[in-house]
């Protein structure tokens, strides 16, 4: 035992570059690898496997290889009994993307001034304001949406307020795209404010002064100094809002009245009443691939910018 140890020591001393001691640091990461593997990767792999399996007659699936789930996104049997191009799923997917993009844009437009305002406050008030921004997260999402249903609903505070300005009585602002969007923006805006605030707070005030000294007006300063420097916060905020907004189910149904299906409800329908798990999984995989592509593009652009700087 001591012999081998001695030899090992000797040879290690002879060529330190060739023999490295076992790096135990990787072992320390084992728990996080296990969590990543079992809680994140495995479920995704299962969904991917289901998407290429054969559909069960009453829901469920049988292992196999079958791409029907994917072809159904574009082609289905029509009312005449012939296979035809069916744009309805593309329409639903596109509508979902547009809704998520609009939500992200509105969140951004509202979050930048709010974050800027918070960043200007004294440190104790700053802490309080950031706490207030996160406050809604302490309550369940469904309750927050219900609160909006009361605010916009018949005889709710907002229609009542508008009546003062001549709106017809008994007005309801529910069940339209605007109501959906309002609830979506409300739900996701803290996810935008926090990262944007973090990068605005780090902004060096002297750089803004320097921009003014160099005869940059406010617009130029915003565009050429403030926005580029806060871009990392804006991009991570946009990702944090856009990605979960793609899967929104509650707001479109409760606020929008569910008259136009979103991707979340479409997937739900396929696993439920539609009894078509492979198709539901195929849409989920497509959503995942789309999100990945968007994220990769953003990451590449960020990396290129960093390299340029």
């Amino acid at each position: 035992m001591s012999d081998t140890a001695h030899t090992a020591h000797a040879s290690a001393g002879a060529s330190p570059a060739r023999r490295r001691p076992l790096n135990l640091a990787y072992l320390g990461l084992l728990p996080s690898w296990l969590i990543m593997g079992f809680a994140l990767l495995l479920p995704i792999l299962i969904v991917a496997a289901v998407s290429v399996s054969t559909r069960g007659a009453y829901g469920g699936f049988e292992w196999g290889f079958d791409l029907t789930g994917y072809s159904q996104i574009l082609f289905n049997e029509g009312w005449e009994g012939e296979m035809e191009f069916t744009p309805q799923y593309l329409i639903i997917i596109l509508r979902t993307i547009v809704l998520a993009a609009l939500t992200t844009l509105l969140c951004l437009v509202l979050a930048v001034p709010v974050s800027y305002f918070i960043a200007q406050q004294s440190s104790s008030r700053k802490a309080l304001l950031v706490y207030l921004v996160t406050l809604p997260f302490w309550m369940s999402l469904i309750l927050r949406v219900y609160a909006w249903m009361i605010i916009l609903g018949k005889d709710g505070p907002l229609p009542r307020f508008l009546e003062v300005f001549g709106a017809p009585s008994g007005l309801s602002l529910m069940y339209n795209d605007g109501a959906t969007l309002a609830a979506m923006v409300y739900t996701y805006i803290p996810l935008m404010v926090l990262p944007v605030f973090a990068s605005i707070e780090k902004l060096d005030g002297t750089l803004i002064e320097a921009a003014h000294d160099l005869y940059g007006n406010r617009w130029v300063t915003l565009r050429r100094v403030i926005l580029p420097l806060t871009a990392p916060g804006i991009i991570s905020g946009a990702i944090l809002v856009f990605v979960p907004a793609l899967g929104a189910v509650l707001e479109p149904i409760l606020m929008g009245g569910g008259k136009q299906m979103m991707m979340g409800s479409l997937i739900q329908l396929q696993f439920g009443g539609g009894r078509n798990w492979p198709f539901g999984s195929a849409i989920a995989v497509m959503l995942l691939v789309f999100v990945m592509i968007v994220l990769i593009i953003l990451a590449l652009r960020a990396a290129r910018k960093e390299a340029a700087a």
Binding site: G56, W79, I253, G257, G258, M261, L269, G273, R275
Partner: protein, 338 residues
């Protein structure tokens, strides 16, 4: 290692507040079982009862299909019960040998969804149709026409459910199309009807029906007889329509999912819930009709107080659709909401 795990498990059990003989995990319709009955059962048999809820048969079927759920009892509607038996998702607990079976009304025994009555004991039944807020709408309700082809007074003020199951059934009753039709031209007529109705519809949502209809946000809503009856406790002015075309019927039954960890406790619970005293208390809470023998004198929802539960029009029980028919239903629904 095993010892260590057992030790940890024991320690966890010891620290949990209710140190009971056994456990029973219920997966039932949300808010469907009288809480005091659950408490009474837990005390009487020294069993810790956990309750989870679902809001659609599809949710339940999906969960059971996904594999070991850990649940001991569930209550699918009859047309899903048939699928679950055929797909081997349920335990055969020889239900017909239980005392509970003798409490079941003759007309609900050995139906097509469980002919041999080995897998299920009926627990509640009812209908699906539409209800109106009489403060907002005082027109006629004796036909589905007013709901599916609304006039001026209901335009923009009706709401349906967020999933197709019973809505399509009601539309089929109205058009005279058989349930689970495999004829695509018939189902196209169903789609055309719902498409024409859509411009008058405020929402397709199964959540918060009571609030939406009770507040007058909408004036007519697709609903269930008992749920509406229960809502009358806090909202006035609700009336369940009795359309001449008929209502869509359903029957929920207790079942034991395959591989249930506490099968014996599940049987105890089914027996417990089926005694006349407890069945009456359950109906007084749930407000859906009971297929069991009741103590009439203690019944809250009598014909006089709850006319919705005593339909005066034909009731057509939902069927178990073939995959082909179900695909047509899904196609109608997707095109309606595309």
């Amino acid at each position: 290692m095993k010892k260590l795990l057992t030790g940890t498990a024991l320690a966890v059990c010891m620290t949990s507040p209710a140190l009971a003989e056994g456990t029973l995990n219920l997966y039932v319709w949300s808010d469907s079982i009288a809480p005091d009955l659950i408490e009474k059962f837990g005390e009487e048999y020294d069993i810790t009862v956990n309750v989870d809820g679902y809001t659609s048969n599809e949710d339940l079927l999906t969960k059971l299909q996904a594999g070991a759920s850990g649940y001991d009892i569930s209550a699918p509607s009859h047309h899903f019960l048939r699928i679950m038996i055929d797909e081997g998702l349920l335990e055969n607990f020889d239900a017909k040998e239980l005392d509970a079976f003798n409490q079941v009304d003759e007309r609900w025994r050995n139906q097509w969804w469980d002919e041999t009555q080995e897998y299920s004991i009926p627990m509640a039944y009812g209908t699906a149709g539409f209800a109106v807020n009489t403060a907002e709408y005082d027109g006629p309700t004796d036909s589905m026409k007013y709901f599916f082809e609304p006039g001026e007074d209901l335009s923009g003020r009706i709401a349906l459910l967020s999933y197709p199951d019973e809505v399509i059934g009601a539309a089929q009753l109205y058009l005279g199309v058989p349930f689970c039709s495999e004829d695509s031209s018939e189902m196209k007529r169903v789609l055309d009807l719902l498409m024409a109705q859509k411009e008058h519809v405020a929402a397709y949502s199964s959540d918060n029906i009571e609030g939406r209809l009770g507040s007058g946000e909408v004036a007519a809503h697709f609903w269930w007889d008992g749920t509406m009856t229960k809502a009358l406790r806090s909202v006035d002015n609700l009336e369940y329509a009795m359309p001449k075309e008929g209502l869509v019927g359903w029957m929920d039954s207790w079942v034991i999912p395959k591989g249930a960890p506490n099968r014996e406790n599940a049987i105890k619970f089914i027996e417990f819930m089926s005694t006349p005293e407890n069945a009456t208390a359950q109906m007084n809470y749930y407000a859906h009709s009971s297929p069991l023998e009741l103590i009439e004198a203690d019944l809250v929802y009598t014909q006089e107080k709850a006319p919705a539960l005593y339909p005066t029009v034909p009731v057509e029980m939902s069927r178990t659709c073939s995959p082909k028919a179900q695909d047509l239903v899904t196609r109608v629904w997707t095109q309606l909401l595309q």
